[in-house]
C-alpha cells in the first residue's frame, strides 16, 4: 500500500488506526504526545505543591492519589521520587521527542522534499505502535506494587538495580521506545537521502529537513548504548548478574546477595553516551521549526543558511564526544576532564552560530507578529538563557558547587520548556492550516503566548538563585532541612503558583485547537505565502501528497527577491520564460 494508484477502499482500522500514511502517523504521534505532555505536566504540578507547601495535603486530588502514595493526601518521599523520575522520562521520551520528530518530522519532511510518503511506510507504522506500547508500559508502572520508577530518569545503579518493580517496567518501556526511535531514524535518513524531488539539492533543503536528518543520525547512533545498558540492568534485576553492582554492598544493614564485581560507572557511561546526544535531539527539530517560521514571517531568506547547516552537522558530531561532562564528580582526573571540558566548550560554538544566525535573520526583515512568530521569537532569548547557563556547568571546577543543584534544573528546563516547547507551539500554529485546512484564532494564540512566556520565567528563573545557594535537586521537602537553603526557599511558592498559572494559560490553546477544527475553511492552500513545498499542495494534502511530483528550481527561502513583484518565490515555481 505504498504507491499511489488503485486502492481498494480501506477499512476504518487500516485507514486511521493501523495507517501507513505518514500524515496519519504524524497525527497519531502528535495527539499521543500532547496527551503525554499533559500527563508529565500534571505530575510536575503535584510535585510543585509539595515543594511549595511541604507536608501539606494536596487539595482536590489528594484523596485520589492512593494511601500508598499520599496518605491523607500528603505526598510521600517515595511517591515524590516516582513523580520526579516519571516526569522527566515522560516529558523527554513520550512527549517532546515524539512530538518534535514523530509528529512534525513525519508529517512535514516528506512534504518538504516533495515525496509521496516516507521511504518505509510499514516501519513508520511499527515505530508509532512501539512508542504507544512503550508509553502504556510506562503509565501502567504507577499501579504496580511499589509504584513507578523512582531513581530519576537517569536510573543510576546501584539504586535503580535494587529499586522496586516499577524500574523493571521502566526498562521494558524504554526498550520499546528506543526500538521505536531506531526504526524511525532509519526511515528519516533513507527518506531524506533518497526521496528528494528533482532539483532539490542538499543546499536547497529547508533547514527543518537538515535538522531532522542530523537528529535521525543522533538517534540511530546513540540509542543503542542505552538499549544495551537497559538490557544489562534488566539482567541485574531479574537474572542475578552484577554488571553494575560492585562487591560488598550492604543495604539497610543486610549484605546484598549478588555476585558483585560490577561497576556503577559503566551504567553512567552507557547512559550518558545516549543521553547527551539526546538533548540535541530535543533541540534540533525545534531550531528547524523556528527557522521556518522566522523566514516566513520576516519575508526574507535566512541569514547564514550554509553556516547553520554546517554548524548543525558539526554539532551532531561533537555531541558524541562530550558525554562525561555529566560525570565530572565521579572521581575523574585531570586528563579526561580536560578532554571533556574542551569538547564541551567547543560544542558551544555551533550552538552560538545557529542562534546568532537566527537572530541576524531578523535584521532587514519585514516582521509579522503572528502567533507562530511570537513563539519563535520568544524561543530565542529563552534558549539563550538555557545555553548560557550551561557554561558554568561545562567547566568542571565551576560545576563542583553547581552539580546536582537547582541550577542544573533551571539550565535544562530553559532549553526544553520555553525553548523547545515554544518552538513546538510555533510549529502547531504555523502548520495547523496545512494539516486541517483551518486557522487557529490569533487572539487566543496571543493570550497563550504571553501567559506562557511570563509564567515559564516565573518557574525557572528562581532556580538559578536556589542552585547558586547550594540547594540540591530531587529533594522531597525542597531543602527545608538545610540552613544553607533557608534564604532562598521563599521562592518555591512563587515558582509553584507560576506552574499552576502556566497550566491555566494552556487552556486557551487546547480550546483553540479543538474549536478551530470546526471553524471556516481557509481559502488558500498557502495562507502564510510561504516558499517551501508543503504549501504547494492542498490542505490537508491528499493521499500521495502531490498530484504530480513537484520540481524544485531554487533555494528554500526566496522571499523579497529583488526584481520580482511578489514577495515570495515558491520553490516549485518555474522561472519565467
Amino acid at each position: 500500500m505504498s504507491t499511489h494508484g488503485d486502492h481498494q477502499e480501506m477499512s476504518f482500522w487500516r485507514k486511521y488506526i493501523f495507517s501507513q500514511d505518514h500524515k496519519i502517523i504524524g497525527l497519531q504521534y502528535g495527539i499521543t504526545a500532547l496527551f503525554f505532555l499533559l500527563a508529565g505536566f500534571t505530575m510536575m504540578m503535584m510535585m510543585r505543591w509539595q515543594l511549595a507547601y511541604p507536608g501539606q495535603p494536596v487539595p482536590f486530588i489528594g484523596g485520589l492519589l492512593g494511601e500508598d502514595n499520599a496518605p491523607g493526601g500528603i505526598i510521600l518521599p517515595e511517591f515524590y521520587n516516582q513523580l520526579g523520575a516519571m516526569h522527566g522520562t515522560i516529558m523527554i521520551f513520550l512527549g517532546v521527542v515524539p512530538l518534535a520528530v514523530g509528529a512534525f518530522g513525519n508529517y512535514i519532511v516528506p512534504l518538504q522534499i516533495g515525496a509521496p510518503d516516507m521511504a518505509f511506510p510499514k516501519i513508520n507504522m511499527t515505530s508509532y505502535w512501539a512508542y504507544f506500547l512503550g508509553g502504556v508500559i510506562m503509565m501502567v508502572s504507577f499501579f504496580v506494587p511499589g509504584g513507578a520508577a523512582n531513581s530519576g530518569w537517569t536510573s543510576y545503579p546501584p539504586l535503580a538495580d535494587i529499586a522496586t518493580m516499577g524500574q523493571t517496567f521502566w526498562l521494558f518501556g524504554m526498550i520499546f521506545l528506543i526500538t521505536s526511535s531506531l526504526l524511525g531514524s532509519i526511515n528519516f535518513i533513507t527518506t531524506i537521502i533518497q526521496l528528494r524531488v528533482k532539483g532539490l539539492t542538499w543546499m536547497r533543503l529547508p533547514f527543518f529537513v537538515w535538522a531532522q536528518l542530523v537528529t535521525a543520525f543522533l538517534l540511530l547512533l546513540a540509542f543503542p548504548s542505552l538499549e544495551a545498558a537497559g538490557v544489562l540492568q534488566l539482567m541485574d534485576r531479574l537474572l542475578g548478574t552484577s554488571f553494575f553492582l560492585p562487591s560488598g554492598l550492604v543495604v539497610s544493614g543486610q549484605i546484598l546477595e549478588v555476585s558483585g564485581g560490577g561497576s556503577p560507572l559503566l551504567w553512567q557511561h552507557l547512559f550518558w553516551f545516549l543521553a547527551h546526544p539526546e538533548v540535541y535531539v530535543l533541540i534540533l527539530p525545534a531550531m528547524g521549526i523556528v527557522a521556518e517560521v522566522i523566514a516566513t514571517n520576516t519575508r526574507k531568506p535566512l541569514w547564514g543558511y550554509k553556516s547553520m547547516v554546517y554548524s548543525t552537522i558539526f554539532l551532531g558530531f561533537m555531541s558524541f564526544v562530550v558525554w562525561a561532562h555529566h560525570m565530572y564528580l565521579t572521581g575523574m582526573g585531570t586528563a579526561i576532564s580536560a578532554f571533556f571540558q574542551t569538547t564541551t566548550m567547543i560544542i558551544s560554538i555551533p550552538s552560538v552560530v545557529i542562534l546568532t544566525a537566527l537572530l541576524l535573520s531578523l535584521w532587514g526583515g519585514s516582521i509579522r507578529f503572528t502567533t507562530p512568530m511570537l513563539f519563535a521569537l520568544g524561543f530565542l532569548p529563552m534558549f539563550a538563557i538555557g545555553g548560557l547557563t550551561g557554561l558554568p556547568l561545562g567547566l568542571a571546577a565551576a560545576d563542583i558547587p553547581l552539580h546536582d543543584t537547582y541550577y542544573v534544573i533551571g539550565h535544562f528546563h530553559y532549553i526544553v520548556a520555553p525553548g523547545t516547547i515554544f518552538a513546538l507551539f510555533a510549529g502547531i500554529y504555523h502548520w495547523y492550516p496545512k494539516i486541517t485546512g483551518r486557522q487557529l484564532s490569533e487572539t487566543l494564540g496571543k493570550v497563550h503566548f504571553w501567559g506562557s512566556m511570563v509564567f515559564m520565567n516565573g518557574i525557572f528563573m528562581p532556580m538559578f538563585v536556589q542552585g547558586l545557594a547550594g540547594v540540591s535537586r530531587r529533594l522531597w521537602d525542597a531543602g527545608e532541612q538545610y540552613a544553607h537553603a533557608s534564604g532562598v526557599l521563599w521562592t518555591n511558592e512563587w515558582m509553584s503558583i507560576s506552574a499552576w498559572l502556566l497550566f491555566v494559560f494552556q487552556l486557551p490553546f487546547i480550546y483553540n485547537i479543538l474549536r478551530s477544527l470546526r471553524g471556516p475553511k481557509v481559502e488558500s492552500d498557502n495562507p502564510w505565502q510561504a516558499t517551501t513545498l508543503e504549501w504547494a499542495t492542498t490542505s490537508p494534502p491528499g493521499h500521495g501528497n502531490f498530484a504530480t511530483p513537484p520540481v524544485v528550481y531554487r533555494g528554500a527561502y526566496e522571499y523579497s527577491v529583488p526584481g520580482h513583484e511578489a514577495d515570495f518565490l515558491p520553490q516549485n515555481q518555474p522561472e519565467k520564460g
Partner: protein, 268 residues
C-alpha cells in the same frame, strides 16, 4: 560578580578560585545576554512590518557577528585554560601529605554519613562486612585489630581543625551518594566499590560562620547531592570547624566516650 551570585560564605582555600571562575563566567553570560538582548529588542521594533513594509533580501552584510563570536570563543578558551583547568588540577593532584593533614574516612549509606577517624596512630583499623551491625557498628570496625583500638567513629558529626589540610576518603555502602560541603566548595560522588579521596583546607571556623550569618545556631552542613532513595532529602550531616585545640579536645572526648562504651560490653 561572585559576591552578587548569592553563593554561601566561602570557607576554603581552593574555593576562592572556584568563586572567581563562577564570577568571570557569569560576566561573560551577562555581557552576551544583554548584548544580544539589546540587539533583539531594537531589531523587532525597527523591522516590524509597519515600519519596514518591504524586507531586504540581503540583510546583514557586516562581519561584526563573526568577530564577536571569535571573541567569545577566545574568552571561553582563556577561562578554560587560565582558570578552569588549573583549578581542577589543584583539586585533583595537589594532595597534601597525609602526615600533614587531618585524614578522615566518610562512608555514606542510606541515609547517613559514617565518619571514621584513624586516631592517634594515624592508621585506619580494619573493617569487615561480617562485623557490620546497623545499630552498633555501622562501619563494621574490627575492634580486635590493634590499629582499630584508637579509631573514632561518629554518625553525621564531622569535626575538622581550621587552616589545616584535610583529606577525606569517600565511599558508600549501598548506592551512589554525593558528599557536598557548600561553603567549602567541595562536592564528590561517594560510589560503592570505590574509595575516592577529596582534599581541601577549611579557612573559616563555625564560630566565624555564626558571626557572618548572624545566627548563633548555624553550622556547616553536609548535603547529599545524588538521589539515593526515599531519604535523600534528610541526609544532612554536620561539619564543625574549630581551632586545633578544640578539635583535639573533641577527639579526646569522643575517644573516651567510645572506650567507655566498649568497656560496657565487657561482661566478665
Amino acid at each position: 560578580m561572585e559576591n552578587m551570585l548569592g553563593l554561601p560564605p566561602l570557607a576554603s582555600v581552593h574555593g576562592a578560585g572556584i568563586d572567581r571562575l563562577l564570577g568571570w563566567v557569569h560576566w561573560l553570560m551577562a555581557v552576551l545576554f544583554v548584548g544580544w538582548g539589546i540587539y533583539f529588542i531594537y531589531t523587532v521594533i525597527r523591522f516590524r512590518s509597519a515600519r519596514q513594509p518591504k524586507a531586504d533580501y540581503v540583510g546583514v552584510t557586516s562581519h561584526y557577528s563573526s568577530y564577536i563570536e571569535g571573541g567569545v570563543a577566545l574568552f571561553e578558551a582563556i577561562l578554560l585554560i587560565g582558570l578552569a583547568l588549573p583549578i581542577w588540577a589543584t583539586v585533583k593532584n595537589d594532595f597534601p601529605e597525609e602526615s600533614q593533614a587531618t585524614v578522615v574516612r566518610v562512608v555514606s549509606e542510606q541515609f547517613a554519613w559514617n565518619i571514621h577517624y584513624p586516631g592517634a596512630d594515624g592508621i585506619f583499623g580494619k573493617t569487615s562486612l561480617d562485623l557490620l551491625d546497623a545499630e552498633t557498628n555501622p562501619l563494621g570496625l574490627d575492634r580486635s585489630d590493634p590499629y582499630a583500638q584508637d579509631d573514632i567513629t561518629t554518625i553525621n558529626q564531622l569535626h575538622l581543625p581550621v587552616n589545616k589540610p584535610v583529606i577525606i576518603h569517600l565511599t558508600s555502602k549501598d548506592v551512589i551518594h554525593s558528599f557536598g560541603l557548600p561553603e567549602m566548595r567541595v562536592k564528590q560522588d561517594a560510589i560503592p566499590g570505590m574509595s575516592i579521596p577529596v582534599w581541601f583546607i577549611p579557612t573559616l571556623t563555625t564560630a566565624e560562620l555564626r558571626e557572618i550569618k548572624e545566627d548563633p545556631n548555624v553550622t556547616f552542613e553536609i548535603a547529599c547531592a545524588q538521589l539515593c532513595g526515599l531519604g535523600h532529602y534528610r541526609m544532612r550531616g554536620f561539619l564543625t570547624v574549630e581551632t586545633q585545640e578544640e578539635f583535639d579536645a573533641w577527639l579526646a572526648e569522643e575517644a573516651a566516650a567510645q572506650q567507655e562504651e566498649a568497656g560496657d560490653d565487657d561482661w566478665w
